[in-house]
């Protein structure tokens, strides 16, 4: 069969999803390379930096256990400080992975195949970071398991009316489903790595995790059914998890939190920040691991469009909060929002607005949607903005609360910063190990979107 070069997909008549027209083997070679080759020194440098931050995380948590939550800047009106902000931030980051892998799968968005694996891995690592924070946030951090409905002899049972309780279930179910979905998707690729293994150890380890995959027709049939069902199972979680997280705030009577707009607003923000994190990671990974043709400007263009949409939704939510505060005639609500924009935390509010509302508006231009440098900087700015969004929600609502005599200005301590930096250490350690030991692109799925794989393709 003569090889025909495709820049335009011959069946779909659209630009080909993978550049450079590789064949199936070319995809395997490109994706398996970082798993099989000796990693460059840069990989070790990143791993070392990440591990140091992870160590800092461990030290911060150990000091917290010893000394108590007083080591943070939390004070009495601002009883929820950085740990809750970081929790919501990391849960938000997690969302894009499931959106890309499950929702876009159900919508038959075939371009997702180049990025879904890495995005899902990011989801799992972000959920790991997120799950740590509510546990260490509590005043007696050695007892978070009391929130689980474990049979015990202490006459204790969780309160199922508490949104914090719903959080425990929402986030842990989300983590579990994402992990299963990610693993099921990995099976054919793990089998590929196993078959290519040059050492016995690799053959055994990847062999165990490949669950005896042989690529038979029957196996593919089962696999695709399972993948579809898991995608269906994961899709509602994209919406439910962050809705539940928003209930933590929305169900309490605090002005600034007590709004019905929160679930959709949180969801849009979560997907927005998660996509930004995928973009940040992919801009680097595609260059470092020479996957520019697999993860190409077309993918970034589409992710940027999604960021433009979700960023505008978030901007709409910001303005709607103000409108309702005024329109409702609720003085307390209005005070909170005016205080956000003009009070002592105005700097945080306007950081949030500039990063989350103004930055994504540049994505109206195709040149900027496909410009790697701009994407890298803007996606980081968006995540800074999204972190500040949670800061604004938590801190500005609490700091000027119902009792003017208790108003206080929240100042983070060194340990607040160390814990946040440490969580990035955990995230990047996991991600660095992931790109080294697992195929970061879903090879089997990418091959299925090549023109050669199309059932109606008849080579000339």
């Amino acid at each position: 069969m003569a090889h025909v070069a495709y820049d335009i997909d011959p069946v779909e008549h659209r630009p080909a999803l993978i550049e450079g027209d590789p064949d199936f083997h070319g995809i395997t070679e490109a994706v398996a390379r970082p798993v099989e080759w000796r990693p460059p020194w840069g990989w070790y440098a990143v791993l070392a930096a990440s591990l140091s931050l992870l160590g800092l995380f461990g030290v911060s948590i150990a000091w917290l256990f010893w000394e108590g939550v007083g080591i943070w800047g939390n004070n009495v009106p601002v009883a929820w400080g950085w740990p809750i902000i970081n929790f919501v931030f990391w849960v938000g980051i997690a969302h894009a992975g499931t959106l890309i892998s499950a929702v876009l799968f159900l919508f038959r968005q075939r371009w997702r195949t180049s990025i879904n694996r890495a995005a899902e891995a990011m989801t799992i690592f972000a959920v790991m970071c997120a799950l740590i924070f509510p546990g260490i946030h509590i005043g007696r951090p050695w007892l978070p398991y009391w929130m689980l409905p474990l049979p015990n002899q202490m006459d204790m049972w969780p309160q199922f009316r508490s949104p914090l309780m719903w959080d425990v279930f929402a986030v842990s179910i989300y983590g579990t489903v994402s992990l299963i979905f990610w693993y099921v998707g990995l099976i054919p690729d793990l089998a590929t790595i196993r078959d290519r293994a040059r050492t016995r150890l690799r053959r055994i380890v990847y062999g165990i995790f490949a669950l005896g995959w042989r690529g038979s027709f029957r196996q593919w049939l089962h696999y695709e059914k399972a993948y579809l069902l898991l995608a269906g199972l994961a899709t509602p979680l994209v919406l439910s998890v962050h809705s539940v997280v928003s209930f933590d705030f929305a169900t309490s009577q605090l002005p600034g939190w007590h709004t019905t707009i929160f679930p959709p607003y949180f969801d849009a923000g979560a997907i927005f920040s998660g996509l930004a994190m995928v973009v940040t990671l992919m801009v680097i990974c595609r260059v470092v691991f020479k996957l520019e043709h697999v993860i190409n400007p077309l993918h970034f263009d589409r992710m940027a469009k999604l960021m433009l949409l979700t960023g505008s939704l978030v901007g709409y939510a910001y303005s709607m909060e103000f409108f309702i505060a005024w329109y409702s005639g609720n003085l307390y609500e209005l005070f909170v929002f005016i205080n956000r924009a003009t009070g002592p935390y105005a700097w945080a509010y306007w950081t949030m607005v500039s990063c989350n509302v103004i930055v994504p508006q540049f994505y109206w231009f195709k040149r900027l949607r496909t410009h790697m440098g701009f994407l890298f900087v803007s996606s980081i700015l968006i995540n800074v903005g999204m972190w500040f969004e949670r800061f604004v929600i938590v801190v500005t609502s609490l700091h000027a609360d119902f009792m003017p005599s208790s108003w206080d200005y929240f100042k983070p301590t060194f340990w607040d910063l160390a814990t946040l930096a440490g969580s990035f250490g955990l995230f990047f350690t996991m991600f660095t190990l992931f790109v080294r030991f697992l195929p970061m692109v879903a090879m089997a799925e990418v091959k299925s979107v090549l023109p050669q794989a199309h059932v109606h393709n008849r080579p000339k």
């Binding site: 108590g68 509590i138 009391w146 929130m147 009316r161 508490s162 605090l254 939190w257 609360d401």
Partner: protein, 303 residues
């Protein structure tokens, strides 16, 4: 003239009635005590009689003494038939904050934890300005927004209406702090007033406390030791006013009530229609904070 003679007759009548009532009461009490000889020893006043002489009958013109009688009556009822309420007369409050201090002393409160602050408000425009002081204990809401948000069910409304925190169960998530619309809850971050007062160069200078800070407190009728380096409740917990439950269950009024210089704070059982608080709640000056939230607070203000 008719009026004065009528009133004289009424006085005589009242005196006669009071005499008869006290005679009957003494006879009744004697009969009751003789029927239950084993229980007599448990009543502290009977014990004290030998040394201090007979306790004078309480003067109901004195609000504190009347409230003590109300309290004793209420304690004889089963728990679920009591409904503890507090009434604060804002016209009598002079803003001395003695209640805040006595509360901190009674419950041995660390820095950052306060059960009963007094909020000062300045009303009006110069030169016609007045100040209003609003003491704010826990409202002990009938529909508390803080209890359903607790993920471990550590905080709950007792049958007598007091919202309690089970320090053994509380994990310190501080959700109740955020949920309370009165800011009546604070978190014990494990701090001490003497923290950081150590000698220069001394190791663990943060782990210091004055003797007054390390004495135990007796909230909820148990002994809680709170010392530097000790990682036990109530450190790390949410803490709140519980109307001095440990005092009222032993026949004493809450510390803020007994300390109030202006006599502005009243306490008692609302289910008892003869009690002082029931009378005051019926006043036309009565109001509650944030009625619109539907929390049904059990602290009433007289404005």
């Amino acid at each position: 003239m008719a009026t004065s003679s009528e009133s004289r007759t009424a006085t005589v009548d009242r005196d006669r009635r009071r005499l008869l009532a006290s005679l009957l009461a003494t006879a009744g009490a004697a009969g009751f005590l003789s029927a239950l000889p084993g229980q007599a020893a448990q009543i502290p006043r009977q014990e004290a009689e030998g040394t201090l002489g007979p306790t004078p009958e309480r003067d109901h013109g004195n609000a504190l003494e009347r409230m003590l009688d109300d309290l004793e009556r209420a304690l004889k009822k089963p728990l679920e038939e009591r409904k503890w309420v507090m009434v604060i007369d804002l016209k009598k409050c002079i803003g001395c904050k003695a209640c805040t201090v006595s509360c901190a002393a009674e419950n041995n409160l660390p820095p950052g934890v306060v059960y009963r602050p007094v909020v000062e408000e300045e009303i009006g425009e110069f030169p016609n300005v007045r100040k209003r002081f609003v003491p704010r204990p826990c409202m002990q809401c009938d529909e508390p927004p803080c209890t359903p948000v607790c993920p471990v069910s550590a905080t709950y409304k007792r049958p007598d209406g007091i919202v309690a925190v089970d320090y053994d169960v509380c994990i310190g998530c501080r959700y109740c702090l955020a949920a309370c619309p009165y800011n009546a809850r604070t978190s014990d971050f494990g701090e001490f007033y003497a923290e950081g007062l150590g000698q220069a160069g001394e190791a663990m200078a943060g782990e210091r406390a004055m003797a007054y800070e390390t004495r135990p407190n007796f909230e909820y009728g148990r002994e809680w030791r709170r010392e530097p380096g000790r990682h036990a409740s109530p450190k790390g917990n949410a803490r709140k006013c519980q109307f001095c439950l440990h005092r009222i269950e032993n026949g004493l009024l809450p510390a803020c009530v007994t300390t109030c210089l202006g006599g502005a704070t009243y306490f008692g059982d609302y289910n008892d229609k003869t009690s002082l608080v029931h009378e005051l709640v019926g006043s036309s000056r009565m109001m509650r904070l944030k009625e619109e939230l539907g929390t049904e607070p059990k602290v009433f203000y007289l404005v």
